[in-house]
């Protein structure tokens, strides 16, 4: 490793720079796909190959009989770049539908985290009190540790993790964001 020269700041995607504006914003995309081998690699590979970034990714089969999975991707880019991402996703053969929830209107975003803290005495009590305030649940405990389960928006989880740091944070496991639009209609 050559530690003397710092790595250059990662260059912007050549694709988005063509439409260069600085109004980059996060977008949450729901992608309904056939749950067939390689489909996730196709989606992720598209992001890597075209220089788009993925901030969060979740995937699970949502319709077992039809073998359909729903992928939720949080990405960021200019509105033009995100539209391009959506079209590129739609081009993939096993992709049924892509919805940009951010554009479509209001939506609910949730993430689940498990947060392990270790400590004794006052720290331990403080961790428990904070978890109650955040409506966390204890899913595992020993005499010197707790593991909390917490559901909420990514920023709520970020906030909770920060609070756990001084009272003995050991590790965090997060699912990434699942999202769904508000109101009666489906994607």
């Amino acid at each position: 490793m050559n530690a003397l020269t710092p790595p250059p700041a990662s260059p912007p995607s050549p694709y988005s720079s063509a439409l260069a504006t600085s109004n980059t914003e996060p977008h949450t995309l729901s992608v309904l796909v056939d749950n067939e081998p390689g489909v996730l690699a196709r989606v992720v590979g598209l992001f890597a190959g075209r220089g788009y970034n993925i901030e969060s990714l979740t995937v699970a089969e949502v319709a077992h009989a039809e073998h359909q999975s729903r992928i939720t991707i949080v990405t960021s880019g200019t509105p033009e770049a995100v539209e391009q991402i959506r079209h590129q996703l739609e081009r993939l053969v096993p992709v049924h539908r892509v919805t940009d929830l951010t554009i479509k209107g209001h939506f609910v975003e949730r993430e689940l985290a498990m947060v392990k803290v270790r400590g004794k005495g006052e720290n331990r009590m403080e961790a428990l009190r904070l978890s109650e305030a955040f409506r966390g649940r204890v899913v595992d405990a020993t005499t010197e540790s707790f593991t909390f389960e917490l559901t909420g928006s990514p920023s709520k989880i970020d906030q909770f993790v920060e609070l756990m740091r001084p009272v003995g944070l050991v590790e965090v496991s997060r699912t990434g964001v699942a999202a769904i639009s508000r109101g009666p209609d489906g994607m």
Binding site: Y15, A18, L19, D34, P37, G38, A41, R42, G45, G49, E80, E83, Q84, H87, Q88, E90, R91, L92, V93, P94, V95, H96
Partner: protein
Amino acid sequence: MSRQMTGAEMVVAALEDQGVDTIFGYPGGAVLPIYDALFQHPNVKHVLVRHEQGAGHAAEGYARSSGKVGVLLVTSGPGATNAVTALTDALLDSIPLVCITGQVPTHLIGSDAFQECDTTGITRHCTKHNYLVRRIEDLPRILHEAFWVASHGRPGPVVIDIPKDVQFASGTYVGPQNIVHRTYQPVVKGEMDRIRQAVAMMAAAKRPVFYTGGGVINAGPEASKLLRELVALTGFPVTSTLMGLGAYPASGPNWLGMLGMHGTYEANHVMHDCDLMIAVGARFDDRITGRLDAFSPGSQKIHIDIDPSSINKVVKVDLGIVGDCGFVLDDMVRLWRSEGHGADRAALADWWERIEGWRRRNSLGFTNSRTTIKPQHAIRRLYELTKDRDTYITTEVGQHQMWAAQHYGFDKPNRWMTSGGLGTMGYGLPAAIGVQMAHPGALVIDVAGEASILMNMQEMSTALQYRLPVKVFILNNSYMGMVRQWQELLHGSRYSESYSEALPDFVKLAEAYGGVGIRCDDPGELDAAILRMIDTPRPVIFDCVVEREENCFPMIPSGKAHNEMLLPTGIDDWGAPDLGAVIDEKGKMLV
């Protein structure tokens, strides 16, 4: 319709049911069952190439000249990896291919078995779609689906990777009738409101231009006919990308020539100064746009494309129409007539007058010579001597390719096969073989460079085996001319590794393969030599020895705009006689 058979037999049955009469391939351990099935089904003709890349390009040539899906069959491991360049080529040029690859048996997948490679992993990024068939039950559906996906929407290559045990397994074959793809249903009809709006914009335009691309060719000959009709109705000028040549005839009155990096002065100026650009099946490639922030600054833009992701990808347009060019052009012609539109004749007359001014610069002009053959002159003679025949042209990649595009006049679609998006040296000879298989009686010529031709020279052997009288017309300048030209413009004429040293004697090489070799270095003898080539009913390599350091002009230097072209020697737009100084630092970063 359903029958019991092995997986290998299903492959052949599906080919027959899909109307495939010719495939290109190369055998190996992992596809032996399929080769055995082919042996017993002579309805599907197999062309044995000499390298799997050749099979891919041959299938491309076959597809592009016939409008059908091209098929190749290769073995696992090295067979599959050798095909990767051709698959990528087909992806970038939107050519429908089905590539069947053998794979090690399913129980060995992942064990680094002999000739195992992760074919679907490797080809995921260079195919439109790919499949690994793990169960015999899925095979018939996948085979037919692959043809559907390859040929519908924006065409492209599809790989079907079939493990050997699946080829041996028995199952129930189902014909193509009942196969409808669940998700892949591209839109082909354009939205009527948008088309109506487009036609109104066209009627109001004062300085319009049609900018057409390979999408028009891919939409079938009918689309080219409709384009001609629309151009005739409106009186608008028309230019085309490298991929779209022939959709509108080069001999047509409204033709501006090709546009882009080596396009004509008039085509590029029209693009720069137009007030309405109608892009039909073209994708604003960087070879076309030049400097993006100076690309056609004052125009409204309409973009018709079957691929929604092409619209607004690099250039923001005012009106996007998603649909097959054929359908959309048909609606446009109909609406233009039924709504009684007329073009703004007075404005158009002014526009054509300006165009004539640009035309007078004669940007394709060159100084001919009595002593050495100029490459442009060679192409023009080739054109004159073959234009009244049933001729198909393929090319390799380099200056010769651009000269062919500039100086050979294409009057029909599907007559011009060149590697546009990927720029693959070695494309032309195997592509010519594919074209000749599709059109046995035609005159098929690969316009080649002496460097490119050596990349797939082995396919001469294929041409001989199948008695395919393809002609390889080499513009031999002893240089990787296009590389040398860029080194002259960008790198102080330091010709690093671009001289073609130790070339073979192409005449003897032709003879060694069993073909005919012709050499010509005298302009006075050129016509007679070309005629001799045409009249030879066997494969010919024509070594046309041309001026060594000729540059290909006009040219938009990298990083420059459409109105900053470099014209043939001495005349240029911004008075920069020093070729080495025309490209700035930013331009040097571009390719």
